[in-house]
Amino acid sequence: MSGIVRSEPFTLNIGPQHPSTHGVFRVKVTVDGEKIVDAEMVMGYLHRAMEKLAEERTYTQNIPFTDRADYLSSMSNNLGYVLAVEKLAGIQVPPRGNAIRVIMAELQRIANHCMAAGTFINDTGAWQTPVMWTFREREKIIDLFEMTSGARLTCNYMRIGGVAFDLPREFEPRARQLLEGLPGFFDEFEGLLVQNEIFLARTRGVGVVPPETAINASLSGPMLRASGVAWDIRKADPYCGYENYDFQIPLGYQGDSFDRFLVRIEEMRQSARIIGQALDGLPGGPHSTQVPLALRPPAGDAYARVEGPKGELGYYIVSDEGPSPYRFHIRAPSFINLSVLKEMVVGGTVADAVVSLGSIDIVIGEVDR
């Protein structure tokens, strides 16, 4: 009896030109009615062969490349690369440099999560209202970046051995003013959305990733923590003096899109705490050590990683004592977090697919490198 109504599958392209793929990224979706039967990712629209170009430039010239990998969190990218080179060349960073690096990395995390949370709710359909709210806070942080590094988005602020310039005089008062406003904003933002029935209906149980699959698929960052796996490199492998700041790691319950949203909001609160503590104990002294322009690290390889806003951001650099890295590889969290997209999407509807994709929070610059 049931064989009477047959509907043959129907392929649909979400992307590359699509309002909610956060950049040029395409998912070829085979749809049966509203239910998705199969999904295939097509990437590479923004592939700029960054790893090939890096072999042509000196270690210091590569820093602006890392800005453009994940153009929404350039500070964390710089930090990852600079730590890898310092590990390879064995360079020590003065305490003030480390403290400034922590402040900048955490400010960048708040800015990124503002963007991620805002656009995620945008994908569920709220007419840009949450994005405008989070962008208002993000603007304040970007003003701080512009004040210190001169650029809003691709700051190019970290140097091998420390940071490019010291903090300007008016950085601290402006940062304190921002920190006073943030907790109020987070509570208001979370309060508005967490009990919103429509938002709950659209995100609860959508794009679920169980903990075993998360570990097995080498996910990292909010994706991993939302599935209940307590793994944060700032706690597990502290760099730049994270061990002497007191903060906690948020964990989700069942690894669905709603938990990722909760984890990101909580992470922003913890970052605000870290910045407060870092600003209080900002040590004096030089902000970076002198490094020869033609740095020639000894032959060998080094892999250093940072807890970027999107996950574990690693840099694997191989040196053959030449002025330029022999091999320069970026471990991009957005790229690897996408490996579970098919499992999250198949079985749901097109609307769920868009919400799941938004909850992974990908940036195409980092996915395609």
Partner: protein, 422 residues
């Protein structure tokens, strides 16, 4: 039903422009041939209702007001560049849309693609024929004007389907399917909700309902809160306004059935969407907020000004939901229509029937209506809460905060959070 004479019936009395037009038509009746007066009355009706009220409020309330209000919700300014305070922004938009090229894809069905916008505009003009702006400022006062509104509001669904189907583009087919499915499932509870009103007032004519509310000095929103809720959700589903705008959901299917439209063809759809929203708020203002009456004030304040104020007030409700709520998925919407709104509408109908029977049988005096109002409001709250609990709405189960952990060491199973484990 003879139109009530609220004020003096001199033609120069601007409080009721109906006298003016009827006096004008009578004086012309003997001069022009018999059919011409009929046509002239239609032209006056069209100019008065559509050109003077709908078009300006479409532009200045629908485009300008909405963008300003939503901007305020999003803590930004909204259009303030074009003209003083940005007031010329809608005019600028219209001119921009008119001079933009209206593309037609090669594989599209050209005839249908050109017909769809026209079919989308026509019903919107028709809708305003039955809305009473004043005591005798109603163009076509038929005894079934409420039914007329419900009937004509089914036509734009068909033209939207034609628009989506004629593009031969995958996204627009999705959009048109969703639009049609939504319209069918939300028309049933909508009509049942309005049935409650008709049962109470006893007439199907909008003018009759307004006069009923005037005589009993009670607004039907107080008497029938469930009906207003169902009407609002049903109409926002039919017009696909925000909580239910899945027919042209940007984040999922680009622009739904409007994907291939550009230039003034898209402009017509956008303008008339606002027109339908205005028609819906005008209808709601008449039926729920007492139309042109304001507890006796309509003797001094011209009734059509009161009516326009109420319409824009109700339209602000649409703007408010558009600025704040995310969008529901199609299967949730279908479930909501059939499993939540329909039973609620039926129970409301039963309540209204018993009240009406009690009122007529016992021949109680009219003040019993206030008792009914109280009963209905309490019943509405209780019904909605009870029915949602039955359908499995347990807000306390969902955790609203992430768990905080001190160390980073592998998988932390959930032992405490209730309900979080499922």
């Amino acid at each position: 039903m003879a139109p009530p004479v609220l004020v003096t019936d001199h033609w120069y009395d601007f409080r009721d422009l109906g006298n003016l037009s009827s006096r004008l038509l009578e004086s012309l009746a003997d001069v022009l041939p018999q059919g011409a007066v009929y046509v002239l009355a239609a032209v006056i009706g069209f100019v008065a209702s559509f050109v003077i009220f709908v078009l300006p409020s479409q532009l200045f309330v629908g485009v300008y007001g909405e963008r300003k209000l939503i901007a305020r919700v999003q803590s930004r300014y909204g259009p303030n560049r074009v003209g003083p305070f940005g007031l010329l922004q809608p005019i600028a938009d219209t001119i921009k849309l008119m001079q933009k090229e209206a593309l037609t894809p090669k594989s599209a069905d050209r005839a249908l693609m050109y017909a769809a916008p026209a079919l989308f505009v026509a019903p919107c003009v028709l809708l305003f024929a039955v809305i009473p702006f004043g005591p005798n400022m109603v163009f076509a006062d038929t005894s079934v004007s409420l039914l007329f509104y419900v009937a004509i509001s089914a036509l734009p669904v068909i033209s939207a389907f034609i628009a989506g189907w004629s593009h031969n583009n995958k996204y627009s087919v999705f959009g048109s399917v969703r639009m049609v499915a939504m319209a069918i499932s939300y028309e049933v509870p909508l009509v049942l909700g309005l049935l409650g009103i008709v049962l109470f007032t006893g007439t199907l004519s909008l003018q009759g309902i307004t006069i009923w509310q005037k005589e009993l000095d009670i607004w039907l929103v107080v008497l029938q809160p469930i009906a207003l809720a169902i009407f609002f959700i049903g109409v926002s589903a039919e017009l696909n306004r925000t909580p239910t705008d899945i027919a042209e959901a940007e984040s999922e299917i680009v622009a739904g059935y409007l994907t291939e439209y550009s230039g003034m063809k898209w402009g017509l759809f956008y303008g008339m969407d606002i027109g339908y929203a205005l028609a819906a708020s005008a209808f709601a203002a008449t039926v729920f907020l007492g139309g042109w009456t304001l507890f006796g004030l309509e003797r001094w304040v011209p009734p059509w000004i009161i009516f326009i104020g109420k319409t824009h007030l109700f339209y602000a409700l649409f703007i408010w939901t558009r600025g704040t709520l995310p969008r529901l998925r199609i299967d949730q919407l279908m479930g909501f229509a059939w499993k939540f709104m329909l039973p609620l509408a039926l129970v409301n109908l039963v309540m209204v029937a018993t009240e009406r029977m009690f009122w007529v049988e016992q021949a109680a005096d009219d003040s019993v209506v206030y008792v009914f109002a109280l009963v209905n409001i309490v019943a509405a709250g209780a019904l909605v809460y009870a029915w949602s609990r039955i359908l499995g709405y347990r807000p306390e189960d969902y955790p609203t905060k992430a768990r905080l952990v001190e160390t980073a060491g592998g998988y932390v199973p959930i032992e405490s959070a209730k309900g979080g484990a499922q």
